[in-house]
Amino acid sequence: MSSSNHDSRDEALALAESALELASSAGATDADATVSIVDRFTAQARDRELTQLERSRGRSLTVRAFVGKRRATLSTTDVTREGIDALVRRVVSAARFVGEDAHAGLPDTVGAVELCDHDLFTVSPDVAARADDEKVEEALEIERAVREADARIVNSDGSRVSDTITSWALANTRGFRGVHQGTTASRSAAPVARDGDAKRIGHYGSAARGWATLEPARSVALHAVHRALALLGARKPPTMRVPVIFERDVAASVLGDVFSALSAANVAVGNSWLSDRIGERVGSELVTIVDDGLLRGGLGTSPFDAEGTPTRETVVLRAGVLETYLADVYWGRRLGIASTGNAAGGGVGPNNVFLVPGQGTLDDLVAATPRGILVLDTIGFATEHASGIYSRGARGIYIEDGEPRYAVDEFTIASTFPDLLSGIDAVAGDLRFDATVVAPSFRVAEMTVSGT
């Protein structure tokens, strides 16, 4: 990539400082400004051909302006001085129509940033160093590998290789200044298998901070092929109540929903089934959930959050007991707790949220299940956080006597989050930090499977 990444951090900080100055002269009594500069490269291959090539640098600015206890925000991709000036004036004038809110405002203290990117391994030098041609060749190689892996693979939606270098700066009118940089590298594939007259697509991708730590190209290709082939001949299962095993990536999506319910922004407005439950048992003893903003090399790792609060390790659920919600400064004040360093994008976001792993493999979970369903993929997304109802379309494998028997699809799995978390009776050891919310495979003692 470019050789000017230090310059990007400087450029980001200079832009943030100039936005602060403009906000102050427009009448803001307090403000913070965040600038991100993202250099992104993507190559996609399909049919032995390079089919997509994208390279761009995108800059974005967000400003939170306070007029006393009234808050207004802006975000823009127009970072010209005139553009920012016109926008901060608009925003400060809109703030007059916002209600006074005792909890609104910058963090009370400005913490010194003690850790840097170097300590946290958020920058992998091999991202900037790697030549574009090599990445293009690798996309073609993944595409070849999925096509050659099995005669039943007859098509592909394309194989992708991409990377990013993000430079990020935050400044506020109380004197906070921070810069941060992170890199990512990712590979994905989407082979299509023939299944009689039907088709089955298998999606698989992996991401890491750099190329050296990323799952190898061939492994990504074979994983994707395995997913396409695993569901061949799938049929609809009967409607029943049985144990359900969530494969790692599906388990992570469940944890994503749990994170939403843990977010102080949802809890404070009553839009969470975990509202008013601090200190209570809400999951089985196997459920310990942690958010670690300082995880070395984690995809959600940074020295400070979007408000400048130092990030940290927070145990959210310990052996099933709810210990805290995850908060930024504002939503924390609303709930009477301190920020947990989870400010992100104007609200509350995960750093590295994970379910603490147990022992053994996914195969071990299957072998220990007399009758049940292994879920490999879900579709649908509308979780009702207020009621805590969980319901998804699913595909996977029917298990009997601890053995995978046949592939199943076109069914739903349903429960409530309280029942689901309380029902987790086995957790595997296959955790991997390839996203910002991750989980090992786990089993829920009983869910409703709705099929024929």
């Binding site: 399909r46 049919d47 051909e49 390079l50 089919t51 997509q52 090539l53 994208e54 390279r55 761009s56 640098r57 995108g58 800059r59 808050r71 207004a72 925000t73 802006l74 975000s75 823009t76 991709t77 127009d78 926008l87 925003v91 004038s93 809109a94 007059r96 129509f97 916002v98 209600g99 809110d101 098509n155 299509v192 039907a198 088709k199 089955r200 697509i201 409607t239 109540r241 407005v269 009553g270 839009n271 579709i379 649908g380 997304f381 509308a382 009702e384 207020a386 009621s387 319901s391 998804r392 379309g393 595909r395 069914f411 739903t412 349903a414 429960s415 409530t416 409703t448 709705s450 024929t452």
Partner: protein, 467 residues
């Protein structure tokens, strides 16, 4: 404020983009200002302003596309983007022909909207009225969260075939989320409405009506029992039930999946894919509707498309790249979330024209089943065609009558299989009065859906209650 770039500059950028060769190149410029006010706890919680401004350059060679964008709009930055996009044609023949552009305006399609957002007082008033109406609806209303957004997007598309077209698209939405509480039980209701117009539309679609409807859904669910599980007849409600068409059929008819052969509908034009009661349109040219585009994001006019007629597949939704490879014309379906990404074939307003039955006849024909009044959303898997919808408001049907409300119902089915089970179509078709947004490949665009009351003879309902 920059609302368009100089056509002479765009011509130079296009020439640079094609300097290594290519079938065509285009430049997409946008400048979009969105003003949002949010209400919470009975007061305005936050005001926010969002600007998306920049340009993207694309070079297409066969199935290959190179893309680069810039948030800087000066000539050197745009030429840099053109240079980066041109690399896709690295082994192509050089072609330095000068490009001349003829300007055209998009057809008039939207209701009027000023150049600036309305006075802030007006948004505040709309939200306060929604808050009061929701709270007055029922004492069990525990929280009201409401927002209003007012967006104006200037779009300009210049193409190496010599056209430069501009569009000016308004879009307003008023959404009200209500949390109702009864003891320890909490339930949500949500309704959003609006269209491609200005906030004057909320004198007709009043904040009170939106808020009461949202409060009605939330409080009704407080008394709901768990949804049943298993296969049963399902009646899809008029309007919001149109998510069925969007997921079960619509996505599978987008040209990219069909050109690549990854959709289950690939190569099936002229074949039966639904019962003969099923006709499906996708229209980009409905005045003022949320999913309408006077021109799409490639400069092609939005248009009326017949996707399925009396059960027979008629054609796909095309953007320029895929239309060219499939030897047909673009259908004005090339849409994108912003200048930072390439366009994809997408839906606009997808709906079904009226059939012959009354809604009462349809519900009366079901002995035991589910009535899905509206959906919170859905998703489809393209290659095999399995889809799900999350029911936002659902009821049991018992002995031909709508009875108890149910919560947590998800429907799952397979596209062509479900559509051949459409055995009755109502005479009460309409577009949903809901603000749907469709996601594909990480890109989100506003869409419309609509349907008359429909009967699916059988569908799997995924609830938690054993039957």
């Amino acid at each position: 404020m920059t609302t368009a770039l100089d056509p002479a500059l765009l011509a130079r950028v296009l020439s640079r983009a094609l300097r290594r060769g290519g079938d065509f190149a285009d430049v997409y410029f946008e400048n979009r200002l969105t003003q949002t006010f949010r209400l919470q706890d009975g007061r305005i919680h936050e005001a926010s302003t969002n600007v998306v401004r920049g340009a993207g350059v694309r070079v297409v060679v066969g199935q290959r596309a190179g893309y680069a964008f810039s948030d800087e709009l000066d000539e050197s930055a745009l030429l840099r983007a053109a240079e980066a996009a041109s690399l896709i044609a690295r082994d192509g023949a050089a072609d330095a022909a000068a490009i001349e552009l003829a300007s055209a305006a998009a057809p008039a399609l939207y209701e009027p909207h000023g150049d600036e957002p309305a006075a802030s007082e007006r948004y505040v008033e709309l939200l306060s009225r929604a808050d009061v109406a929701a709270r007055a609806f029922d004492p069990r209303v525990a929280a009201v969260n409401a927002f209003v957004t007012d967006e104006l997007q200037y779009v300009q598309v210049a193409s190496s075939d010599g056209r430069v077209v501009t569009d000016r698209r308004p879009l307003v939405t008023l959404g009200v989320q209500v949390v109702a509480k009864d003891g320890a039980r909490r339930e949500n209701g949500y309704l959003g409405d609006g269209g491609r117009t200005d906030i004057g539309v909320f004198t007709v679609k009043t904040p009170e009506s939106i808020a009461r409807e949202s409060a009605r859904i939330a409080t009704t669910k407080l008394g709901a029992r768990d949804a049943p599980a298993g296969e049963m007849p399902v009646v899809i409600g008029a309007g919001g039930g149109g998510v069925l068409l969007h997921e079960a059929v619509g996505h599978g008819l987008e040209a990219d999946f069909n050109r690549k052969g990854t959709s289950l509908y690939s190569g099936r034009v002229g074949e039966r894919v639904a019962s003969d009661l099923v006709t499906i349109f996708d229209d980009g040219d409905l005045p003022g509707e949320r999913g309408s585009v006077a021109i799409d994001d490639e400069g092609t006019p939005g248009q009326h498309k017949v996707l399925v007629e009396n059960g027979i597949l008629q054609g796909y939704m095309q953007d320029r790249l895929n239309a060219r490879l499939m030897g047909v014309a673009s259908t004005g379906s090339g849409r994108r979330q912003s200048y930072r990404v390439m366009p994809q074939p997408r839906m606009c307003n997808t709906y079904m024209p009226d059939g012959a039955s009354t809604p009462e006849e349809i519900i009366g024909s079901v002995e035991r089943g589910l009535y899905a009044a509206s959906f919170a959303g859905g998703q489809v898997e393209i290659s095999k065609g399995d889809f799900v919808f999350m029911v936002a408001e659902g009821y049991l049907i018992e002995n031909g009558k709508i009875t108890a409300p149910v919560r947590g119902a998800t429907l799952i089915g397979n596209g062509p299989d479900a559509m051949t089970k459409v055995t009755m179509v109502g005479n009460d078709g309409r577009l949903a009065n809901r603000s749907y947004t469709c996601g594909k490949g990480g890109q989100y665009v506003p869409v419309g859906v609509g349907v008359p009351t429909l009967k699916l003879a059988s569908c799997t309902v995924g609830g938690t209650a054993a039957s």
